[in-house]
């Protein structure tokens, strides 16, 4: 009897060793990954892939446009979306969820935490290349935190990868200054080590090059009123000679190159949707049951109509960003620009999400110039943009170059025309309104007075007078999952 037991025990422990060792059979575990530079590159590209998420891009559009004045609701707009447009944002609103953004941040954190391991096993990976990949991860993380900073204000800073069930941290919120400092730290690292080119146009526009980092830095510096830093960084992009404004004399060609195909000479960084990974905009803008259209003020006030000469039109208006006849958001919906208007089909809806274009650099620099008393240079930059676009006389202003606020307001209006529906309008309004400790809150309140429904106008104006309402509340599920998070006091 004992003999038999012994033999069985021997067999069990020797051959079934694999039984007790629970490794997944269809995946790679971390111990087997991070071995060579190809795996490192795949992980970095994976960070960019995580951006091509319909939930994330819908959120970026909603966060950047819905509370401003360029987008109108339709009969099919969801209740959560209507509530955001009417300043009735509750913690139960699905758009207050930041999980998509933190997913991408986690991928970046994973690269940052484990990339150095590769150098131990793969000796062909140079330090410069490793730093280049790390720069991309830092830069993308900074971009994600910049979105969170502008949307929520105070967010928890997760800088370590969440890579096992044991590493679920309960983090507190960091202050806006702390988040900002982290963003700048990430970007400072990235700007030193990022590569200038990856060898192909698609990669240069789809991954963060050094110039993409500069563009993001310009936006970040301007957000906290660091004008000289912003101008310096913009100049680096301008002087590189790699980017320029695409010619606008034939609207259909300009639209085709810049918006339909994307990755033009004007583009600096775009989310690379393509036929295998479509964007969410077909159901949002194009179908008969679309959820958003351009508001009526887009053609009336933003672009204007030249009543005397019908040949003069702003190429960014009808047939560019919007289709005047039914206010469809043409920038993402159009297959052709100009007078013949053919919309994209469902299989064709792969318009890129435009994060930074060269015209953004020019206008960010102009805004910084206006506030350091170089107003005339700022106006010259605005003129460059307007000339390329064929902007009509009705929308041109002639502010006094010495008056920073007047030049700045003109630049704000020009940004509305140039970046219509690109998810920047609300952030522009917030940046201008909060300048100098909310010295110009009336910029936001005047916009709100015009767009609010008549029966709620006074309530909404008073809500925006409370500056804490400019940021979204933390989603209720996040509050339940992380007990250390404290809700924005406006939303109690």
């Amino acid at each position: 009897m004992k003999k038999y037991i012994l033999i069985v025990a021997l067999l069990l422990t020797s051959s079934c060793g694999k039984w007790l060792d629970v490794k997944p059979q269809d995946g790679i575990i971390r111990d087997n990954y991070w071995q060579n530079k190809e795996q490192l590159k795949a992980a970095v590209i994976g960070c960019y892939s995580s951006l091509l998420n319909n939930g994330l891009v819908s959120e970026l559009f909603v966060w950047g446009e819905l509370r401003a004045d360029m987008v109108s609701s339709t009969l099919n707009t969801a209740v959560d979306e209507v509530n955001i447009m009417q300043a009735n944002i509750l913690a139960t609103n699905s758009y207050t969820s930041w999980s998509y953004v933190y997913s991408t941040i986690n991928y970046c954190n994973t690269v940052i935490d484990y990339a150095a391991k590769v150098m131990e096993t793969d000796k062909t990976l140079t330090q410069a290349a490793l730093d280049g990949y790390l720069a991309e991860a830092h830069g993308l993380r900074a971009l994600m935190y910049f979105y969170l900073l502008r949307t929520f204000g105070e967010v928890p800073l997760q800088l370590k990868a969440t890579d096992s069930d044991n590493s679920l941290d309960q983090l507190e919120k960091s202050t806006q200054d702390q988040v900002y400092a982290q963003i700048v730290a990430d970007l400072t690292f990235a700007e030193t080590h990022a590569l200038e080119t990856y060898g192909s146009t698609a990669q240069d526009k789809g991954r963060l090059t050094k110039y993409g980092i500069y563009a993001l830095e310009a936006d970040v510096y301007l957000w906290n009123e660091k004008y000289d830093d912003c101008i310096a960084v913009c100049d680096k992009v301008i002087n590189s000679g790699r980017y320029g404004l695409m010619d606008g004399s034939v609207q259909s060609q300009w639209f085709n190159n810049v918006f339909y195909i994307g990755n033009s000479a004007e583009s600096i960084f775009e989310f690379q949707f393509d036929q295998q990974q479509l964007n969410p905009f077909y159901s949002m803008f194009i179908v008969a049951t679309n959820r958003f259209i351009g508001s009526s003020r887009v053609m009336d006030e933003v672009y204007g109509i030249d009543l005397t000469d019908a040949t003069k039109k702003d190429i960014r208006g009808d047939g560019g960003s919007i289709r005047a006849t039914d206010q469809m958001i043409w920038k993402f919906a159009g297959a052709t620009g100009g007078t013949t208007s053919v919309a994209r089909t469902a299989a064709d809806s792969w318009a890129h999400w435009f994060v930074y274009r060269y015209s953004d650099i020019l206008l960010l620099k102009a805004e910084a110039l206006a506030w350091v008393e170089r107003g005339q240079e700022a106006l010259d930059l605005v003129t460059t943009i307007r000339t390329r676009a064929g902007a009509i006389d009705g929308t041109s202003e002639s502010p006094d170059p010495g008056s920073a606020i007047d030049v700045s307001n003109y630049i704000l209006n020009e940004r509305t025309r140039e970046f219509a529906f690109e998810g920047k309008r609300w952030y522009d309004i917030l940046r201008h309104a909060k300048r100098n400790n909310y010295a110009h809150l009336e910029i936001m309140l005047d916009m709100v007075a015009m767009t609010a429904p008549g029966s709620m106008q006074q309530s909404i104006i008073n809500k925006y007078k409370d500056v804490r309402s400019h940021y979204l509340p933390i989603n209720q599920y996040e509050l339940q999952a992380d007990k250390k998070l404290v809700q924005n006091p406006y939303y109690q």
Binding site: A288, T325, G454, S455, Q458, N462, D466
Partner: protein, 543 residues
């Protein structure tokens, strides 16, 4: 053997029943919620006990309750001079409880600047808003309290915590006006016309349902003085033409009637509709929101802008037991307008003007999803804006009509028509697409059918102007053309001065090329045949 017993014991010990976890909601009712937080809500709980309302709030239902916290109840007691809740009049406590309960679930996302959609159980409306005090904005209720915590979902409704007890209005509209010395002239006018009594009945006890809730746009003494009437006597002398203001046709009576709107309309409700009926028969006031200002009777009429009066926000929205009182900063009265002829070019509307590449240059076909706001068709056909010579202003509308392959009707919104009697002429270019084409249409205005029909395929019987007018035809273009004719479809009495809806309903036939150029509304005692219109739009008067 021993092993057998051991195994048996193991079996018995191991056969435990697996516990079935029955899931019921552990959400509390409103009463349960109040009892869970006694440090905040013990006083209100006590009030509910005294009034006996804790019964229905503790069981199934859908209620929204604005609960005052303990501090609120304490300051309320102090303000009424009572030291304990028990010493207060039970009826008054019951009123207060009923005033803060609504028999529906209302979330803060549905709050507007005006009233909540349902009455409270007390029978008065609560209004909401948002107020910004030193940088902090809170949602306000009835201008009496701030919401401290909103949208607390409990099993039988929603709880909002407020920082003050909500008290209902106690005065009627008439009482409110009488007690406010700055409305002395207006109040005297109310008394002398007898409308004071109309405004003095609380909503709950009013047997006349149409006058249960009223809205008053009162003019303060300073507004009346600024218009040139120093005293009530001056106002009466100017308006009361019969000398007896109690008469319904007396102009002073109409003046006061014109300041009273049917229904309870807070400023948020006033701006959501462009016109409101008043107690004055068939007279409306127009309302608009200009920027942040609420303007009454601010209109563009016949090309002339008529400035309206503003309702002052800070002194308006005063709730009474039978309505709302607003303060008008200016003097306004019923406008006497004589009917003016309206020569309506139907192809001129804002949406086509916004397309300068097409407006008066080339044709533009509308689709069902982007029809201009003032035109409604049921489908399947729509309309095409077209250009052509001889048409007035060089453009016209080509409207396919006639079922089943085309829309059976089209609705159009007319320009502002002053009330009065008008003859209606339909100006069109005759076209018969094929030998058998027909398109017989009935015209109706606001649902009232006109006396004659018109047919887009029927040409004018050209003879002399007089004979044609007798048969109901006229030339309307200059120079005249027998293919461009106007058909008299009848006389309509326009009852209110505003925009109206005109409908073409096809009775027989169907065709695409129905070419509509203009529609004329000419007061019945005016020259019907002139002016005629050149292709560039100039009017040609009678020679």
């Amino acid at each position: 053997m021993k092993a057998f017993y051991i195994i048996l014991i193991l079996f018995i010990a191991g056969c435990k029943k697996s516990p079935i976890v029955s899931q019921t909601s552990d959400e509390v009712t409103i009463i349960g919620y109040l009892e869970n937080y006694p440090d905040q809500f013990s006083e209100f709980r006590k009030i509910l006990n005294i009034t006996g309302d804790d019964g229905f709030l503790g069981v199934y239902g859908t209620y929204t309750v604005f609960v005052p916290n303990n501090n609120a109840v304490a300051s309320f007691l102090k303000s009424t001079g009572h030291s304990t809740l028990e010493s207060m009049d039970v009826q008054k406590l019951k009123d207060i409880v009923k005033f803060c309960i609504i028999q529906d679930t209302i979330n803060t996302t549905t709050f507007s600047d005006g009233k909540l959609s349902k009455l409270t159980m007390f029978g008065q409306y609560l209004i909401t808003g948002a107020a910004n005090v030193s940088g902090e904005t809170r949602i306000t209720v009835n201008r009496q309290a701030n919401i401290l915590k909103a949208n607390i979902r409990v099993s039988n409704g929603i709880v909002h915590v407020v920082d003050n007890v909500l008290t209902p209005a106690t005065e009627t509209l008439a009482g409110m006006l009488a007690n406010n010395p700055k409305y002395s002239i207006f109040t005297q006018a109310l008394r002398e016309t007898g409308l004071y009594d109309t405004l003095n009945v609380p909503a709950g006890s009013n047997t006349d349902s149409s006058r249960r809730w009223l809205t008053v746009l009162a003019e303060s003494d300073s507004a009346i003085n600024a218009a040139g009437f120093g005293t009530y006597a001056a106002l009466k002398a100017r308006y009361s033409h019969t000398g007896d203001p109690t008469q319904l046709e007396d102009s002073l009576h109409l003046y006061v009637d014109y300041h009273i709107l049917y229904g309870v309309k807070y400023l948020a409700d006033i701006v959501t509709s462009s016109s409101h009926t008043t107690l004055a028969p068939l007279e409306v006031v127009t309302a608009k929101l200009s920027g942040q200002h609420v303007l009454i009777n601010d209109d563009d009429f016949n090309g002339v802008h008529e400035t309206g009066v503003e309702l002052e926000r800070s002194t308006s929205d005063n709730s009474a037991t039978n309505g709302v009182l607003h303060n008008s900063l200016g003097h306004f009265a019923v406008k006497i307008r004589n009917p003016v002829p309206v020569y309506w070019d139907v192809a001129d509307f804002p949406e086509i003007r916004n397309l300068p590449a097409y407006f008066r240059k080339q044709a533009y076909a509308y689709s069902l999803t982007n029809m201009p706001a003032d035109f409604v068709v049921p489908g399947p056909s729509t309309m095409t804006y077209s250009v052509g010579s001889t048409y007035v202003n060089g453009d016209f509308l080509m409207i396919p009509l006639g079922g089943p392959g085309r829309s059976t009707y089209i609705d159009m919104k007319t320009p502002l028509l002053v009330k009065g009697k008008y003859k209606v002429w339909i100006c069109y270019r005759v076209q018969k697409q094929s030998n058998s084409s027909n398109n017989l249409n009935q015209i109706s205005i606001d649902g009232e059918v006109m006396q004659r029909t018109m047919n887009f395929t029927t040409a004018m019987p050209a003879s002399t102007a007089g004979e044609m007018e007798a048969q109901g035809w006229k030339w309307y273009t200059d120079p005249t053309s027998n293919n461009w004719g106007a058909r008299l479809v009848g006389t309509i009495e326009i009852k209110t001065t505003e925009r109206h809806t005109l409908r073409f309903t096809t009775l027989q036939g169907t065709q695409n090329n129905n070419n509509l150029d203009m529609i004329h509304f000419i007061p019945q005692d005016m020259d019907q045949l002139y002016p005629r219109f050149k292709a560039d739009g100039t009017q040609v008067p009678r020679p």
